[in-house]
Amino acid sequence: MAQVALNGLVKRYGAYQALHEVDMTVEDGEFVVLVGPSGCGKSTLLRMIAGLEEISDGTISIDGRIVNTVRPKERDIAMVFQSYALYPHMTVRKNMSFALKLAGTAQSEIDKAVERAASILGLEPLLDRKPKQLSGGQRQRVAMGRAIVRNPRVFLFDEPLSNLDAKLRVQMRAEIKELHQRLGATTVYVTHDQIEAMTMADKIVVMRDGHIEQMGHPLDLYDRPANRFVAGFIGSPAMNFIDGRIDGSGTTCFVASDGTTIPISGRPGLSKGVETVLAIRPEDLTIVPENHSGAFPALVSVVESTGPETIVILASCGTRLSVVVKERSHLKIGEKVWLHAEPEKMHFFESTGDGCRMNI
């Protein structure tokens, strides 16, 4: 296994710069997820690690050795593609043994490696089928099998689950995670799905427009997002943002743009008059009785029940807020309710520029 280090990595396509001096280290055996909206450069970054894209500037090293000019096959990596990229004219067995065959491995060893990978992934009965005879999930498994067979130093995954239906995606998510625990391989995984990122990663790297916005343990990103973009990207339903300013007549409170007042006592350090963005996760907002201290009003506009929980969307503070309610809800559209959030669950971001977290 191996450590992958990126130093000042830049990718340009003519005048367009797709990656801006990216620095990142994937430790030996670590499962790193690159996440971000489409076009943020995450797939380009992965393809550069694979050796499929040229490096405009900076270095990529695997185990301390700079591999900028090393050909993909000599980097000892395996990649699983979004479309699976199985060779349609070869059987599963041939797909899985292709790399070893090219490397000149002895047939007996190839057979052994393929059998081993097939047994790990439960592919034995499918070995003599062609890809078109397989279901989406099976194809996905074969694509992983093809990667495992080579016993590479680094696994790269490029949105491997996005072609699967929701149920299969959850199942494969667990399987990939399990596989990683079993093989302990250094893994870089690209996705635009923040739930995949949260559930699978040892470390999440959030990207936007070719920049790394934040990097860290999933729960650290969830609990302390570095800026408004990360706050809005991580978590589902997305975090609520309320524009306003700090006011300090009597107890410190936040005044939303429509004049709604939310008490934030217990959060010192915010100076009076500062324009700011208050952010609260939907699960940190609760519906309370009118006389609850610090409650502010809201009107119910949509009620979405998912079974175990209900997502209520409300008009309040000059914007739309979502609230996740655990118990069954009997709220009616247009009903007036009162909301409350604990001050320590509130996040504050600058209202200008990148919306950086205000460290208070």
């Binding site: 593609f81 990229a85 004219h89 093809r146």
Partner: protein, 275 residues
């Protein structure tokens, strides 16, 4: 009622088209088995009575047609093979590599195809003559390459473009070289395209008349289309022999088409939509 009218509306033009397309072939096939006298009767006699093999005997044993057949075969296979080899590399390059002037070059490939045949005959004759290639197999094979290569390159480019880039990326990561990717992954996947190009190139060469007439003047080098014309003399045309020879000439093409029909049609379609 409406359905029936619709069916009629579709099937009538189709029927007319089929008749127009197939009638000459049927007439040729039937006439090849007629004795001389029955070829000229008015009103025409539809079926030979009795059928005779005299015309075929004439063609096979008393004319140069067998020799021309072999010439046509050698030249068509040779030229098709060469066209395929060049087209595969050229088309793969056009489909996969980004280089300066790619679209201009791809458009330029077709310009040769747009020139009227008559305009290139004289320059070609001078060049071939200079190289001593008049009345040689190689000369004709090269000339036919000019005829078939442009469209072959275009057709195959479409097929290669239809292969997902990720497949080739996967093969490169698996350790294949660029040529390895072409031969192990891409080429097997464009089999329908290869078949379409082979058929197109073979048929175009097999049927070509003007180049053959200009560059194969000696009896030993003539091809079938020229051979057919030999049955017409100043005073007389042996229509029975012409029909029989035409039948012999059509046979290989018809056989190839029948065998590969499904793949050919499928191939043309997939190239069109994915390209």
């Amino acid at each position: 009622m409406r359905d029936r009218r619709r069916t009629l509306l579709i099937s009538l033009p189709v029927a007319i088209l089929v008749i127009v397309a197939v009638f000459p072939f049927l007439w040729m096939a039937v006439s090849a088995f007629k004795p001389l006298a029955q070829l000229y009767t008015i009103p025409p006699q539809w079926l030979p009575d009795p059928p005779t093999l005299e015309n075929f005997k004439n063609v096979v044993f008393q004319s140069n047609i067998p020799r021309y057949f072999i010439n046509s075969l050698i030249i068509s296979i040779g030229s098709t093979f060469l066209a395929l080899v060049f087209a595969i590399f050229a088309a793969y390059g056009f489909a996969r590599f980004d280089f300066r002037g790619r679209s201009a070059a791809l458009a330029f490939v077709l310009i040769g195809q747009l020139l009227p045949t008559a305009t290139v005959i004289v320059p070609l004759y001078i060049v071939l003559n200079y190289l001593g290639l008049i009345n040689t197999y190689l000369g004709l094979i090269l000339v036919y390459l000019i005829l078939t290569l442009p469209l072959s390159v275009w057709m195959l480019t479409g097929y290669f473009r239809g292969i997902p880039k990720e497949l080739e990326d996967a093969a490169i990561i698996d350790g294949a070289s660029q040529l390895g990717v072409l031969f192990r992954i891409s080429l097997p996947l464009v089999t329908p395209g290869i078949i379409a190009v082979t058929l197109y190139s073979f048929v175009a060469t097999w049927n070509e008349f003007v180049f053959a007439l200009s560059f194969a003047t000696e009896k030993e080098m003539k091809t079938l289309p020229i051979g057919l014309a030999e049955f017409s003399t100043e005073f007389d045309t042996d229509w029975g022999a012409v029909m029989a020879a035409s039948f012999v000439m059509t046979l290989p093409i018809a056989l190839i088409f029948l065998v590969m029909q499904r793949m050919f049609v499928g191939g043309l379609m997939s190239g069109a939509t994915k390209g």
